[in-house]
């Protein structure tokens, strides 16, 4: 009887973990250690950085497996999202290559979210748009990173969690903007070498807490 109860208990515990638990994902977008200010911008040397749009996918895997329900679209406008997640899980930046290859999905991956390229198929992993104000000059920047050709590249690992009910994802844009200014790259709208470089810089700024 005792063994039977133990088995039931173990089954319940395992089932609970496999079914998944609602986890709150909170985005904190920052520039260095300052939270992104969309109204007044953020200081950057003698310039001020204004970020109009930051929108990106993350996805989770459990035992290396993922599916469309494991994708989440976080943005400055919708920084807090809830997703059922099977623990323990790993978190990656962007859209899983297999999901990207298979075509169109629902939920967070619905093209209605304007995160799918129509002229060259593939999900946009991240949109970052804004401008840099320096005295009297204004430099716009617009980065749409992602697309199908990234399918052969390594997954962009962010971190892992074994047990949590909420997690904060800190996205520091400073490395990306610094790289953009150094390389004088202010527009990326298609997959390719420059896009790949940018995504590696973006990846450096992402941490889970």
């Amino acid at each position: 009887m005792f063994h039977f109860a133990l088995k039931v208990l173990a089954f319940i515990l395992i089932s609970t973990r496999l079914i998944g638990q609602e986890i709150d994902y909170q985005l904190r977008a920052s520039f260095h250690d300052q939270t992104i200010d969309t109204v007044h911008g953020n200081p950057f040397g003698e310039s001020i950085i204004f970020v109009n749009e930051l929108k990106f996918y993350i996805y989770t895997t459990h035992n290396g497996q993922t599916n469309p329900d494991c994708a989440l679209l976080l943005s400055l406008k919708n920084p807090k999202q809830t997703m059922s997640t099977v623990r323990p899980f790993q978190i990656f930046f962007g859209v899983d290559s297999l999901l990207n290859y298979k075509g169109i999905h629902e939920g967070a991956l619905d093209p209605i979210n304007n995160m799918y390229w129509t002229w060259q198929t593939g999900y946009i992993h991240c949109k970052l748009e804004g401008y840099i104000l320096n005295h009297t000059t204004k430099q716009n920047f617009e980065y749409h990173i992602g697309g199908f050709p990234l399918k052969d590249k390594r997954p962009l690992w962010i971190g892992q969690k074994s047990d949590c009910k909420s997690l904060e994802l800190n996205f520091d844009l400073h490395p990306a903007i610094e790289w953009a200014l150094e390389n004088k790259v202010f527009n990326i709208m298609s997959p390719g070498k420059i896009s790949d470089e940018m995504v590696r810089v973006l990846e450096k700024g992402i941490k889970i807490i």
Binding site: H105, D110, T121, G122, F148
Partner: protein, 340 residues
């Protein structure tokens, strides 16, 4: 109320008698295994939903252009007699409309292979400003408010209409477009015979054309240069525009040679109106082509025989298949809805 009841009754009657659960995909034994796994497991009603979406012009920005406007079933789902595609608000595109058939045997789509997935491909014409010029918000709005779509999506998917499901249905309809009943196909299974001219044309074809256009699909569906000089007005660099690799410059997806009778003009920019012009382009006498490895050194008589063979690849059963045409029964439904 009475109209709504009539609508429901009509839908019930149509679906009860017209459809089975599983769509029967017919392709002959001499075809290779399809690349798409879906082709063997299509749902009849989903194919029908895809057909309705394909012919529905309300999704374009001016509500005048549907997928079928450029991909006419009577022209093997190409746009006959139009060099470049036409779109909403009388816009003109950059390329000749490709014919649609045997898509289940293809892995990339469009002249430059921009789409790696048939389901996703439909997003391109829907939102291109030189094609249907729609926004996805508009498309979703129509899907969610149109009573016919609400009802059909519920029956097919058990859900509310959504863009991913609509794309899935469009894919199902397009996968169902199989052209495999040409004289050539019938010759292979022994129910038709070739004339001497057609047989000689087949020999000429096998020696000169089959490496890029191998039977039975008559295309590798890979990318190749057709040797045409660039059109300075269009400035289309083909596959290069997708990959950025210099070696892909001016490479275009190799088209199938089936149903050429219905798909003129030819080439990615529609610059040739007839097959003789195409063959002349590959002729050594064409100065532009002298240095090209694509030169086909055949006589004028051989060209005639080759064209006679190419005509055996036309499939009139495919062209006039009623299940590929405008779903007329929706007119009845729409009339009832409007009265309601």
């Amino acid at each position: 109320m009475r109209s709504a009841l009539t609508l429901s009754f009509l839908l019930l009657v149509i679906w009860s008698f017209k459809y089975t659960d599983t769509y029967k995909s017919n392709f002959p034994q001499h075809f290779p295994n399809p690349k798409s796994e879906r082709i063997t497991n299509l749902d009849s009603l989903e194919v029908e939903l895809g057909r309705i979406l394909f012919f529905d012009a309300q999704f374009s920005a001016d509500q005048l252009v549907s997928c079928a406007s450029c991909h006419s079933p009577y022209h093997s789902f190409a746009h006959v007699d139009h060099r470049l595609s036409h779109g909403a608000f009388d816009s003109i595109g950059r390329r000749n409309v490709p014919a649609l058939f045997n898509l289940a045997w293809q892995e990339v789509f469009m002249h430059d292979g921009a789409a790696h997935n048939l389901q996703a491909q439909s997003l391109a014409p829907l939102t291109s400003i030189t094609e249907m010029a729609a926004t996805l918000d508009q498309v979703q709005g129509i899907l969610k408010t149109d009573l016919l779509y609400r009802d059909l999506f519920q029956k097919v998917f058990g859900t509310e209409p959504s863009i991913p499901r609509a794309l899935e249905a469009l894919e199902a309809f397009q996968l169902s477009l199989i052209s495999a009943e040409s004289k050539y196909d019938k010759m292979l299974i022994g129910i038709e015979t070739f004339s001497d001219q057609e047989l000689h044309g087949l020999e000429v074809f096998s020696e000169n054309c089959a490496s890029c256009h191998p039977p039975p699909l008559f295309s590798t569906y890979g990318f190749a240069s057709n040797g045409l000089p660039i059109d300075s007005n269009i400035f289309d660099l083909g596959r290069y525009e997708q990959t950025g690799n210099n070696s892909d410059s001016m490479q275009f997806k190799v088209p199938s040679l089936r149903n050429l009778k219905y798909t003129n003009p030819y080439m990615h920019d529609g610059r040739f109106n007839n097959l003789r012009q195409v063959l002349n382009h590959y002729s050594p006498r064409n100065g532009i082509m002298d240095k090209s490895p694509l030169v086909i050194p055949i006589s004028e008589d051989d060209k005639s025989d080759l064209i006679a063979f190419l005509k055996t690849l036309n499939d009139s059963n495919f062209i006039f298949n009623p299940s590929h045409q405008f779903p007329k029964w929706t007119l009845t439904i729409n009339t009832i809805q409007n009265e309601n």
